[in-house]
Subunit: 100 residues, 2 copies
DNA sequence: TTGATATATCGAGAAACCTCGATTACCTAC
DNA sequence: GTAGGTAATCGAGGTTTCTCGATATATCAA
C-alpha cells in the first residue's frame, strides 16, 4: 500500500468516479438482484453498467483500486461485490496530511 | 486545479520527492548563489542537481506541479524559484477529505 | 456433465507519460 | 549587440496506461 500506488490508482477519471460512487450505491448504480448495497457492496456488472466501459476494463479497474487498498471485495456465489475500504481510506488521508 | 490533475501530478516518484523536499529546502537541495530558500524558493538548477535528471525533465516536472497548484514560481533575474503553495496544498487536502 | 451467467485474465493497438538531447527564449554583463 | 548562463520548449524513442474483444475460470442449475 505505497503512497505512489494510491495516487496512480486515483489518476483516472473512471476509477475516481467508481470510488466516489460507492459512497452512495443506491444513488449511483442500478439495482442488483441479490446482495445488499451497504452490507455486501456493488457487483461488477452493476458498476459496469453505470460507467459504460467494457466488462474487462471495469474488472481491471476494480482490481487496481483493491491493490491500492481503497476498496475490498467479497465473493458471493457467482458475484463479486465491491465496497469502499473506509478504514484504509482514512489511513490514506492521514498519511497524505503528513506526507504531502 | 482539478482533483484529477492533482493526482496525476503526484503519480510520479520524482515529483513527489520534489514536493516533499521543498518542505525543508536547506536539507534537501544544494545551496544556491542568490535567492533565499524560504522567502523565494529553490531554483531549477539546484533542484535538478538534487534529483539527478535532465534539466528539461525537471523543468517540465515543475511546470506540472505548478499547473496542479501545488507549487508557485517566481522569476528573479535569470533564475526561476519554486516553492510549495501551502495554501493550495491545504485546500487540496480539505477537498480530498470530502471528495475521496 | 452440459449450459448459462458472472467475473478474471490475456493479447493487442492506441494514447499518454517518461526522459533525453537539441534548440529556443530570456536575462545580465560587457 | 555579443557572450554566457539559466530556464522553457520541442521532437523523438522507450515505457506505461487505457481500452477493447476473446478466452479462461468460477458458480450454479438442470
Amino acid at each position: 500500500m505505497k503512497t505512489l500506488d494510491v495516487f496512480k490508482a486515483l489518476s483516472n477519471e473512471t476509477r475516481l468516479k467508481i470510488l466516489n460512487g460507492l459512497r452512495e450505491p443506491e444513488k449511483n448504480f442500478p439495482p442488483q438482484d441479490e446482495g445488499d448495497f451497504h452490507l455486501d457492496g456493488v457487483c461488477v456488472s452493476s458498476i459496469q453498467e453505470a460507467v459504460g466501459l467494457s466488462q474487462s476494463t471495469v474488472s481491471g479497474y476494480l482490481a487496481t483500486l483493491e491493490r491500492a487498498g481503497l476498496v475490498r471485495s467479497k465473493r458471493m456465489g457467482p458475484w463479486t461485490y465491491y465496497k469502499r475500504n473506509e478504514e484504509n481510506i482514512r489511513r490514506v488521508l492521514k498519511a497524505l496530511e503528513e506526507d504531502l
